[in-house]
């Protein structure tokens, strides 16, 4: 057999290293070089490389059986062959003993020989020793010297191509083009061949994986300044959309209400916690599994995709590494002007306008009160003159509290974070530990969070057969949030009088006069001041989360492995809300439960409310893996069995009355009194007290799975997976418990075919997969399921129906087809993938409005979960990683992600059946599930009321919209962007590097403003200043579309729809964001202190700039949504735009 210059035995994955002192056990005395090298590799993980073909590795040799030191052994066997060896990282490189430069094998014919020489360097200009240089498609080659120089003698073929490779660098091909001196710069491999796809069930090389996935390495997420992992995920992978609220959607939403969050798998086991709890500094690799071939193995939980996270492990080179990472982040100060709210003057003007038109005397005693309303009422009753009233009004308007609110309630967001990590390892034991502390302040004054987190990872190789892996990670959090309750108030409200005393803020139905009246009747005062409230409460949340994983690998032979693993995580949380007796909350509760004779049912004193939450997750898994090479086939086979239990236990609403936090004394109350409801002269029926309540749930899954893959000649890969899940969620019958998930996939490495000969394509592979994954809604069942409780009225045990019998109910099934191309072009300078997917979700579970005659439905809370229709997601994910400039001192890399998603509700059995349902976003056949529906605006009529066009183009007043059908409005587009992605630019110049990260979203629409219905809010909260342009008098309709004030307490939904859903308010929400700029400088080489192996300073800015197509500049980041809910039509309080964030970071290695 002819040997190529470089031989790599075994697979690339098993890379580990050792020290020279390492011992090797030689069994057979008579062997060949090849077998011996393979044996060494199996035992030590060290790969033996030959630098030329002067030696036939099939030559037989004789060695002494027994345990010998590696160095000894190699010295021994190579002496004969007149070769020597060296250790380079995890390689043993063998080369002829004498000559530094090796001539290729002598040729029979005397031909013109050319000597090519040069130097091999990395991007930083450092020489690369032991780089392999080979003439392509020949056996001629050499290895570079320690100083990086090389020299090679070749046949005089003008079209010869040099192939230069070195571990950790991208292999390069360089045509000679008649040159004789060629300096070669190798580029570090960031998406190299030796990357692996970790699915949690198997680890497979990236190139052999047939499914759709995207790997995000530690380096990629470290480049983003943000301190939390969710933020860092934004834009790093094609097809992955991180929403404003931190939720993640992979390849479009494929479910209506079963939840579209992907499954998170941490170190092989499902992670039920929040992504925020994982320290990004500990993350080694993050793999997003997008299609069936990748995710089906997670069965019922993998339908929305899977994010697999592995944390860092120790290296086995016997060196101790210590890393420190410190980050300090500060945001700009909250500015109320960003909220587009009214000034005091504007607001007083609006409120007065409302009273003048509505007539204040008519305001009943239980209605909202405000300072201005009080003045108006006095004027109406004649107790003050109009002139006095106007003077008082103007006095109110002369003060504007917005600056005071910023001062009293807000602070800059600030985060500091320190992570210290150690890693040390030998061949036998590899260890990684980290400890991190972070402190953060949210925008609310009085909020502060501390978090300590740790991570321990240990891999212990007991012997050839047994290996133990352990990982423990956890965090302890403490959050104080005293401030987070302030509500937006009228801009003229004063918090302090001139002497610095608290002033009453009219609140609900309590103006100054009614507060006084209640006090005179013997009730506690209803005096209310937000600043005071902040001081009278003490609210704290504490939590601890610990997650442990242990697994044992048993490897009886080199092709068989058994793994038993246990993952257990537990999290405990407690929220304590201590309210001083002086607080408004306590006073108003006591008042509410005061009877006609002024008896207080609740003892008047401090109250401590507390909630306890606990969750536990236990996974056990047994798995068998077979990996065998038979001839040119490589077989992989995994089978196993798994159990998972997720328990949640909450004890909510506990309260201690008249609580003394120092003496720990309290009074006992009679819950029965509080639960029966109470009639009070002032408040009517006092709301029923929320008694302490416990909730508990345990979701269990039991699964069997199988994974198989076969590879032929490393050109063709086939894979298949199958998994059966049983769960307790769907009730008792096995008919509903079983849900098989499966997939098949294949890949063809075209570029490895003999006929393939395109010099600029280094790698080309086609892949395809198809499979099924399921989804369930844990709140539903085909059986009648009842919630047990104690009836509040009678005290009897009661069962109320949570879910009616529905024998037709089944699982939600998602069938995914994925077709893709993996490519590497132009000497691997451009790499990436293009993938097309088709995701069809059948029997989509949805909350359906039933005919209420059945006893269900009719109201939103009475909807029934049913299989209701089919959703299609179809799209393209493109990833391009390009190394645009490659130069010893300067490099420029680009990573570009592009995603297009088409989403459609293909069919729906129970569609929205009227236009109001459509306005509310209920499913409509043929539309995306997040469609935006609106009316064509026809301006205002002569009285300032909004009008729209109907389908025939007639102008219709909102009052006549009752006759409208769905067709009278139009489907404008989607709320979420169909096109989105990112562009990351990475520059390095000598020690300096820069990252510019750009996100883009295109093709979606959003309402610009949530129009409140004014009168209910007039006198309560400040409002958006678009109302300054409202219609006031005849003729205004010529230049404004903002209707006149609505005086009715219950604004008609049609009037709101004619305003809010009018196309002038719905805008194209295309946006390009300059998400972050990060700069870093590596001081290591300047410092020249041997003890410090790395010193890097980073500076970053986030949310620096954006462009949007919409008129409302804030459209891209307000939490405007179309969901129906309590505050649908109200601008949410203090919904600030994303703040600019400044980060300074330092990382050091020792």
């Amino acid at each position: 057999m002819r040997i190529s210059v470089i031989l790599l035995f075994g697979c690339f994955m098993q890379i580990s290293a050792s020290t020279w002192a390492q011992k090797v056990n030689v069994r057979d005395a008579k062997t060949t070089y090849k077998e011996l090298f393979q044996e060494v590799e199996r035992q030590t993980g060290l790969i033996t490389i030959l630098s030329n073909d002067e030696m036939d590795i099939n030559d037989e040799i004789e060695v002494e059986a027994g345990t010998v030191e590696l160095q000894e052994l190699y010295t021994d066997i190579l002496k004969e062959a007149n070769m020597e060896f060296r250790m380079v990282d995890d390689y043993i490189v063998i080369r002829p003993a004498e000559k530094p430069v090796i001539m290729a094998e002598a040729r029979d014919q005397e031909e013109k020989q050319i000597i090519i020489k040069g130097i091999v360097k990395d991007q930083n200009g450092e020489p690369i020793p032991f780089a392999a240089i080979r003439v392509k498609d020949t056996t001629i080659g050499t290895v570079s010297q320690v100083d990086g120089t090389y020299q090679i003698e070749i046949d005089g073929e003008a079209n010869a191509v040099l192939e230069v490779s070195s571990l950790g660098f991208v292999t390069q091909e360089i045509p000679l083009n008649d040159r004789t001196v060629i300096d070669i710069v190798l580029v570090e491999e960031t998406m190299g061949l030796n990357e692996v796809v970790v699915t949690g069930y198997q680890t497979i090389s990236k190139e052999r994986a047939t499914g759709s996935f995207q790997i995000v390495n530690a380096d990629d997420i470290v480049n983003v300044a943000s301190v939390d992992l969710t933020q860092r995920l934004e834009g790093v992978a094609a097809g992955v959309k991180v929403n404003k609220d931190g939720s993640i959607v992979i390849r479009g939403a494929s479910t209506l209400n079963a939840g579209s969050q992907p499954l998170i798998v941490l170190n092989g086991h499902p992670w039920e916690g929040n992504l925020l709890e994982i320290n990004p500094d500990d993350v080694e690799q993050l793999t997003v599994l997008k299609d069936a071939a990748s995710a089906s193995i997670y069965g019922v939980r993998g339908a929305n995709g899977v994010i697999v996270i592995t944390t860092k492990r120790g290296k086995s080179d016997g060196k101790l590494r210590v890393n420190y990472n410190g980050t300090f982040q500060m945001a700009e100060s909250p500015n109320l002007d960003d909220l587009n709210i009214m000034t005091s003057k504007e607001y007083v003007d609006l409120e007065w306008d409302a009273y003048e038109t509505a007539g204040m005397t008519a305001f009943p005693w239980y209605n909202y009160k405000s300072e201005l309303g009080e003045i108006y009422a006095k004027m109406q009753s004649g107790s003050i003159s109009e002139a006095e009233a106007l003077q008082m009004r103007d006095e109110l308007a002369s003060y504007d509290n917005r600056r005071d609110i910023e001062e009293l309630f807000f602070q800059r967001e600030m985060v500091q974070k320190h992570t210290l990590s150690f890693n040390y390892g030998t061949e036998k034991n590899q260890f990684y530990a980290s400890l991190s502390f972070d402190e953060n302040k949210a925008i609310w004054k009085g909020t502060k969070g501390d978090n300590i987190s740790f991570n321990l990872n240990d891999r212990f190789k007991y012997n050839d057969i047994l290996q133990l892996n352990l990982s423990v990670l956890g965090n302890f959090r403490k959050n104080k949030n005293n401030g987070q309750f302030a509500s937006m108030t009228r801009p003229y409200v004063r918090f302090y009088d001139e002497e610095g005393n608290y002033m009453h803020e009219a609140n609900g139905s309590y103006d100054a006069a009614t507060v006084e009246y209640h006090e005179s009747r013997g009730l506690l005062p209803f005096f209310y001041n937000q600043v005071q409230e902040q001081e009278l409460k003490d609210k704290e949340t504490k939590s601890s989360n610990i997650s442990t994983n242990a697994s044992l690998d048993i490897t009886p032979t080199d092709w068989l492995k058994f793994t038993g693993s246990v993952g257990y995580s537990v999290s405990n949380g407690r929220t304590e809300d201590y309210q001083n007796k002086e607080s408004y909350k306590v006073r108003s509760f006591v008042n509410r439960y005061t009877d006609m004779m002024m008896n207080q049912v609740i003892p008047y004193g401090n109250i401590l409310w507390y909630d306890d939450t606990k969750s536990e997750n236990l996974t056990t898994r047994l798995q068998m893996s077979i990996n065998k090479q038979i001839n040119e086939f490589n077989f992989g086979f995994n089978a196993g069995w798994e159990r998972n239990a997720f328990k949640v236990e909450n004890n909510m609403g506990n309260a201690r009355f008249n609580y003394n936090s120092q003496r720990l004394t309290e009074n006992v109350v009679n819950w029965q009194d509080l639960t029966q409801g109470y009639v009070n002269a002032f408040f009517g029926w006092a709301s029923m007290w929320n008694v302490p309540r416990r909730s508990q749930s345990e979701d269990r899954f039991q699964s069997a799975f199988f994974l198989g893959n076969v590879s032929f000649k490393e050109k063709y890969d086939l894979s298949a997976s199958w998994r059966l899940d049983k769960t307790n969620l769907f009730g008792q019958s096995s008919e509903y418990q079983d849900q098989p998930a499966w997939s098949i996939g294949g890949k063809w490495h075209v570029s490895r075919e003999d006929f393939f000969n395109v010099s600029w394509i280094n790698e080309l592979g086609f892949k395809a997969s198809y499979g099924l994954a399921g989804n369930i809604d844990k709140n539903t069942s085909p059986f009648l399921i009842a919630n047990a409780g104690t009836d509040y009225f009678t005290g009897e045990q009661s069962l109320s129906v949570a879910n009616p019998e529905n024998p037709l109910l089944g699982w939600e099934q998602t069938y995914t087809t994925n077709i893709g191309v993996d490519y590497a072009l132009f000497n691997n300078r451009v790499r990436g993938s293009i993938e097309f997917y088709n995701k069809q979700t059948k029997d989509v579970l949805a909350e359906v409005n039933m005919d209420p005659t059945t006893g269900f439905g009719g109201a939103w809370y009475d909807k029934v979960n049913m299989n209701n229709g089919e959703i299609l997601n179809r799209g393209v994910d493109i990833n391009i990683g390009a190394n645009i400039v490659r130069n010893p001192s300067f490099a420029y890399d680009v990573n570009f992600n592009f995603s297009y998603n088409y989403n459609e509700l293909v069919s729906v059995d129970k569609p929205a059946n009227n236009r109001t349902d459509v306005v509310y976003g209920n499913p409509v056949e043929g539309q995306p599930i997040d469609f935006v529906y609106g009316y064509k605006n026809a301006g205002l009529d002569a009285t300032g009321e909004p009008q729209v066009y109907d389908r025939d183009g007639n102008v219709v007043s909102w009052r006549d919209m009752g006759s409208f059908d769905i067709e009278d409005g139009e489907f404008i587009g989607r709320l979420t962007p169909p096109v989105y992605g990112s562009l990351n630019n990475h520059f390095t110049y000598k020690n300096f590097s820069a990252d510019i990260f750009i996100l883009y979203d295109f093709g979606h629409f959003a309402p610009q403003y949530n129009y409140p219905s004014p009168v209910r809010t007039a006198g309560t909260k400040n409002m958006i200043n678009v109302y300054n342009n409202r219609w006031r008098q005849a003729g205004d309709e010529a230049h404004t579309s903002i209707p006149k004030l609505d005086y009715t307490g219950y604004s008609s939904q049609d009037r709101i729809a004619a305003t809010w859903n009018s196309d002038y308010n719905i805008d194209n929400a295309d946006v390009i964001q300059l998400k972050s700029i990060n700069l870093s400088y590596d001081f290591t080489s300047l410092l020249n202190v041997p003890a410090i192996k790395g010193l890097k300073l980073k500076v970053g800015i986030e949310n620096l700039w954006h462009w949007t197509a919409a008129d409302n500049d804030r459209i891209y980041d307000t939490k405007v949504s179309w969901e129906t809910g309590g505050d649908l039509y109200y601008e949410r309080d203090f919904d600030f735009p994303r703040f600019k964030n400044y980060t300074v970071g330092l990382s050091m290695q020792f």
């Binding site: 005693w365 009614t514 006609m596």
Partner: protein, 466 residues
């Protein structure tokens, strides 16, 4: 190699063996799949599901007024109800009366369907549970058929469209409308079973009992103008329980400083009156969960019917001042204390008045008995110091007095609306200067089948128009 094979097989066998189902048969906590008759009884104990009440339509009756100054604060559906529009609710709004009564019907159906096949529990009497289920269904259907169909007319009942009458809990079935006669037939059949199985008096006032069954039968026969049967059942109910609350025990919570017992502001509270539906001794079957109407104004027409000097209902349950002592604008009265909560259940005074009315309307009127019972009520409602019992003059006068007392006693309840429909009254309202009249013959005495029902279940709509 052979050993390896053995190990592999052993692993696979082990994996298969350990795949038992026990692990996943755990039932979610806090939830249960009903399996015995105790569970069925407990389904009927859920006040929220079963005793959802109705009475939203009380606001259509002539007791209530929405003063002009309150119109801007009235919801669109509230305005529609107040002016007897063809449709009270839009397609996307729920008709709470329909929803709550059919909710009760579906739970009752589930119990009736399964009570014979489920294993018998030990906590609740199986017959009692059966009786309760049948009563619940009858009670709900009676309300529904009176609300959404023509008033019972023996001549046309078998062709008049009634309401859907689902007899099983099945969300996948759309039930068509039955005829009025069919609905009444099921009501009577249900009440017969209820009567056979229920105890005389209930354990809780949200549970059915013979008192309630007889009271309901007395009411139904009254509506059907079968007065002898009505009187018979009302009497049976009163024989079991005829407790009345003496309003002479009530006092104003806040002394107004003078000696006149009839003056004071009840909006500031009264004492010795138990508003709690379960402990109010006059309540026999409570069909309402707690909800409260604070913004309720009484029509001056109703207020003027009361003897202001002597009727304690006027003293304690309506006020021309708010809780702060400020006069209610435009001389209106607000409802205080009793009456603030909607009512469509069974109460002793109603049974008593049903009895009196039936006695006077039966073929041979019994005025002696009627006056005796009428005075039983009056004695508890008028100020004791000045109380004068009613004395019989002639039959029409006595009947008129009974009907007047009925109007006052059943004020602000759903029954006043059904009385208007049954007695063929018309009423006119002026809203913002525009006049609306509901005629005795008006189609809108029948409520519209809710549009959100028709959108899914194509039921024939009632004819509309005032």
């Amino acid at each position: 190699m052979k050993t390896m094979k053995k190990i592999i097989y052993a692993f696979l066998v082990l994996a298969l063996v350990s795949c038992g189902d026990d692990y996943v048969t755990l039932l979610p906590y806090g939830k249960t799949i009903p399996e015995n008759t105790d569970d069925l009884a407990q389904m009927l104990n859920a006040t929220n599901d079963i005793n959802g009440g109705g009475g939203n339509f009380g606001s259509q009756a002539d007791d209530i007024v929405i003063p002009d100054f309150l119109l801007p604060y009235t919801s669109v559906s509230g305005m529609n109800a107040y002016t007897w529009q063809d449709f009270m609710y839009q397609e996307n709004e729920q008709d709470e009366d329909w929803v709550t009564h059919y909710k009760a019907v579906s739970r009752a159906n589930f119990v009736i369907q399964n009570i014979d096949s489920y294993t018998e529990g030990s906590l609740y009497d199986i017959d009692d549970t059966r009786g309760r289920a049948h009563f619940i269904r009858a009670n709900a259907l009676f309300y529904l058929v009176n609300g959404y169909a023509k008033h019972y007319d023996a001549a046309t009942a078998s062709t008049d469209l009634g309401v859907p009458m689902p007899e099983a809990m099945d969300i996948n079935v759309l039930t068509p409308r039955s005829t009025v006669q069919e609905v009444y037939d099921l009501i009577f059949a249900d009440l017969e079973v209820a009567l056979d199985n229920l105890p005389d008096n209930p354990k809780h006032k949200t549970f059915a009992s013979k008192v309630a069954v007889h009271a309901l039968l007395g009411r139904i026969y009254l509506y059907q103008e079968k007065y002898e049967l009505s009187a018979e059942h009302s009497k049976k109910s009163l024989d079991l329980n005829s407790t009345l609350k003496d309003y002479n025990e009530i006092e104003y919570a806040v002394d107004d400083g003078d000696d006149d017992p009839s003056t004071g502001n009840p909006a500031m509270g009264i004492t010795n009156f138990d508003n709690n539906k379960l402990s109010n001794p006059e309540n026999m079957y409570v069909n309402e969960k707690g909800s409260f109407r604070t913004e309720l104004y009484i029509s001056n027409e109703l207020v003027d019917l009361f003897d202001k000097a002597n009727d304690m209902r006027y003293w304690y349950f309506m006020s021309d001042e708010d809780p702060y002592g400020t006069p209610v604008p435009d001389g209106y009265y607000i409802v205080t204390n009793d009456g603030q909560q909607p009512w469509s259940g069974v109460k002793t005074p109603e049974v008593l008045l049903n009895y009196c009315e039936a006695l006077m309307k039966q073929t041979s009127p019994n005025s002696t008995e009627a006056v005796t019972y009428l005075n039983m009520l009056r004695e508890k409602r008028y100020y004791a110091a000045t109380y004068v019992p009613y004395t019989h003059v002639d039959d029409p006068t006595t009947l008129a007095e009974i009907m007047l007392e009925r109007r006052k006693e059943l004020r602000l309840t759903a029954w006043r609306w059904f009385d208007m429909k049954r007695l063929g009254l018309s009423h006119t309202r002026v809203v913002n200067g525009k006049s609306y009249t509901i005629q005795a013959s008006s189609n809108n005495y029948m409520w519209a089948i809710p549009l959100n029902v028709i959108a899914i279940n194509p039921l024939e709509q009632n004819p509309r128009g005032l």
